[in-house]
């Protein structure tokens, strides 16, 4: 795997708050790199440093290509478009700004508009597009100059299911030409799209790797979930075998156990239910998801 971007001991501080705390990672050419973390984890700051929009206080970012700025494309979380220009006008303008001739820029713009389902509204002012269309135009603007690395910050936020599928398929289709760094809160989406992911929290890198590998390294492949009435926490905590569960997550009346051996774990849990005479309305056994890992690493505390 050829490294296209190397972040080395990146550090950034705002006043007394450390936003990014000496994180290092490599991004390989042609991969989709999922960049995950709760709100305020430091994702956007890291992306800004990687795309040279923000100067790090420490560390470095090296891109194995020419001009740092022009070899990256950025699709910010906010919709960043020129409202008083039509779709085609702004794409051609941005192409011109990247030294593309108007004809080349126009042909690339039409290709992007076609791929992202915007060709029918190419001459419509951006401010008159629907929210979903504006998001897709936001992506197109990041791609007009065929960047080597594309930073997609929450690209699917606010999209309807049809548009999500379209955007997801499009992201996959350009993977061979463009390395993609994707930030999202949608774990399912990240799992489906990403070749590798990294999870950061409080500015620290927690884990990096292939989603399947990350799930495997946790050692807990399965989750037993129960919908129970009563004081769940006090009921179960004394009975939990530390070797049996990685963690116990309680959400309202639902309790989820990450387990190594789902069959024996389920019978142990049912034994507790029987002893305590608890009313269980539902019991499920499922595979550990990326979200389970994410929650286990970052905790359940709501962030600002």
């Amino acid at each position: 795997m050829q490294t296209i971007l190397r972040a080395d001991s990146l550090f950034k501080k705002y006043g007394n708050t450390i936003a990014v705390d000496y994180i290092s990672f490599d991004i390989f050419r042609g991969e989709i790199f999922g960049f995950l973390g709760p709100n305020g984890a430091g994702k956007t700051t890291t992306i800004k440093m990687m795309s040279s929009l923000l100067k790090p206080d420490g560390g470095s970012v090296v891109i194995n290509s020419g001009n740092h700025r022009t070899s990256v494309g950025i699709c910010p979380q906010n919709i960043v478009i020129w409202e008083n220009l039509t779709c085609i006008e702004q794409l051609v303008f941005m192409g011109n700004m990247y030294n593309m001739t108007t004809s080349v820029s126009k042909s690339k713009a039409l290709e992007l508009l076609e791929s992202l389902g915007l060709i029918d509204v190419k001459d419509r002012l951006a401010k008159n597009l629907s929210g979903g269309m504006q998001r897709r135009l936001n992506i197109a603007l990041a791609l007009i100059h065929s960047p080597e690395i594309l930073f997609l910050d929450e690209p699917q936020a606010g999209l309807d299911p049809q548009s999500r599928v379209l955007v997801r398929d499009y992201i996959r289709s350009i993977k061979s030409q463009t390395t993609i760094v994707l930030t999202t809160h949608d774990m399912e989406e990240a799992e489906k799209l990403s070749d590798r992911i990294c999870i950061i929290d409080n500015g620290k890198l927690l884990v990096t790797g292939n989603p399947t590998e990350i799930k495997k390294t946790s050692g807990y492949d399965d989750v037993v979930e129960l919908d129970v009435e009563g004081d769940i926490a006090n009921t179960f905590i004394p009975f939990i075998d530390p070797d049996l569960t990685l963690r116990m997550v309680i959400t309202d009346s639902r309790v989820a156990f990450s387990v190594r051996d789902p069959i024996s774990a389920a019978s142990g849990i049912l034994e507790v239910v029987k002893q305590r005479d608890l009313k269980v309305s539902n019991m499920r056994l499922r595979k550990t998801s990326l979200e389970d890992i994410f929650i286990s690493l970052t905790g359940r505390k709501i962030r600002e």
Binding site: R69, L85, E89, N96, M97, L141
Partner: protein
């Protein structure tokens, strides 16, 4: 080429954001009509004199009133409007309501006393009495005119010749200047000051919508962006000047000032306002902020540039015999003076060379500060 593309893009955006453009373009022409309505036509900067003619003893009072009515400039523009009133209550009411500038009462025996004096039978002519608001400058001017004519009239009738004369030499283009004429240069500068909003909007829009990120990541430099913006706004500024001129011409204003000089000073003024706009825009994040906080520099430029309120001149220093006043730190103040010299006094380039150099120097200073601030924001 990027300057051209950026220029076209900004121009399209300005045209489509027509509400701000209309505000910018029609503001000063609107003020031209407003001033015209307030001050009156350019030919009628006349002072109203209310007259109570109590004289029943002869026709000298009527002759005197006729002389007042005929007081005119060299180009035959009457200076006094005579309004005959019957009693002092009505006359004083006119003064208090500012419907007249001066009230003159001619006594009952004015003609009789003058006749007696002329024939050597009397040694005193019954005096006229005046009434007016001393705080009103127009009262002082009207009273001076009336005094001047009256003393001349009495001198002529009594053959008393004052052995003294004042020779007047007139500045300007040989025609009288009305108050309205004097406001037009200031209104031209006001029209240019308005581009503070359109120029500011072109920058603030990029910050507010964060499209500046896209421009910053591209190969576009701050210099290219600001050059395109400046060219754009100079065009808008010159259109503003043209429309203001057309509005002034439509209500009778005339000038024989040099058009190339007007364009030169207009362009330099645009350049200076754009510099100030860039500085302003670098401290503002939203269009709302521009239209609220942006009014602060707008009012400073408007009020301290001699546009409407004549300010006391505080001399800072002299350069080669030219005084530099405190408000000359605003290039628009110097521009008002330059426009006035060109339009109302037919001044040529040699007469306003100092103003041109000063506007250029001070505008460049503002512009470079603006560029420096913008660069800091553009690449961060």
């Amino acid at each position: 080429m990027k300057i051209l593309y950026s220029f076209i893009k900004t121009l399209i955006e300005n045209l489509r954001d027509w509400k701000i453009l209309i505000l910018v373009v029609v503001f000063a022409p609107f003020f031209v009509y407003l001033m015209y309505a307030y001050i009156g036509s350019p030919q009628s900067s006349r002072y109203t004199v209310a007259v109570i003619n109590n004289d029943k003893s002869g026709t000298y009072s009527s002759e005197l009133i006729y002389e007042w009515e005929n007081l005119a400039t060299d180009d035959s523009i009457a200076l006094l409007r005579i309004q005959i009133v019957t009693d002092s209550v009505t006359g004083k009411k006119l003064i208090k309501n500012k419907n007249a500038d001066l009230l003159v009462t001619i006594p009952v025996d004015f003609s009789e006393s003058l006749t007696r004096y002329i024939s050597g039978k009397g040694d005193q002519i019954s005096p006229l009495s005046s009434y007016g608001d001393q705080a009103n400058v127009r009262f002082m001017v009207a009273a001076s005119f009336v005094d001047y004519i009256t003393y001349g009239f009495i001198g002529q009738k009594t053959n008393i010749i004052v052995p003294f004369n004042i020779d007047y030499e007139y500045a300007g283009r040989g025609k009288s200047l009305s108050e309205f004429d004097l406001y037009i240069p200031a209104l031209l500068v006001l029209s240019v000051i308005m581009i503070l909003f359109s120029a500011g909007a072109s920058i603030v829009r990029e910050f507010e919508k964060e499209t500046i990120i896209r421009l910053s990541l591209s190969n576009l430099t701050s210099f290219q962006f600001l050059t395109a913006l400046t060219l754009n706004q100079i065009i808008i500024g010159l259109i503003c000047i043209l429309l203001t001129f057309l509005a002034a011409f439509s209500v009778g204003y005339t000038t024989t000032g040099s058009v190339p000089l007007l364009i030169l000073v207009g362009t330099l003024t645009c350049f200076s306002v754009i510099g100030i706009s860039i500085i302003t825009a670098c401290f503002i994040d939203t269009m709302f902020g521009l239209l609220t906080l942006g009014c602060f520099p707008f009012f400073i430029l408007m009020f301290f540039s001699d546009c409407f309120i004549p300010l006391p001149k505080v001399n800072l220093f002299n350069i080669i015999g030219n005084q530099v006043f405190l408000n000359d730190l605003l290039p628009t103040a110097t521009a008002t003076r330059a426009f006035n010299k060109i339009m109302n006094y037919n001044s040529g380039i040699s007469d306003i060379s100092f103003e041109i150099i000063w506007i250029l120097a001070i505008s460049s200073l503002y512009f470079f500060i603006g560029v420096w601030l913008f660069k800091r924001r553009f690449k961060n």
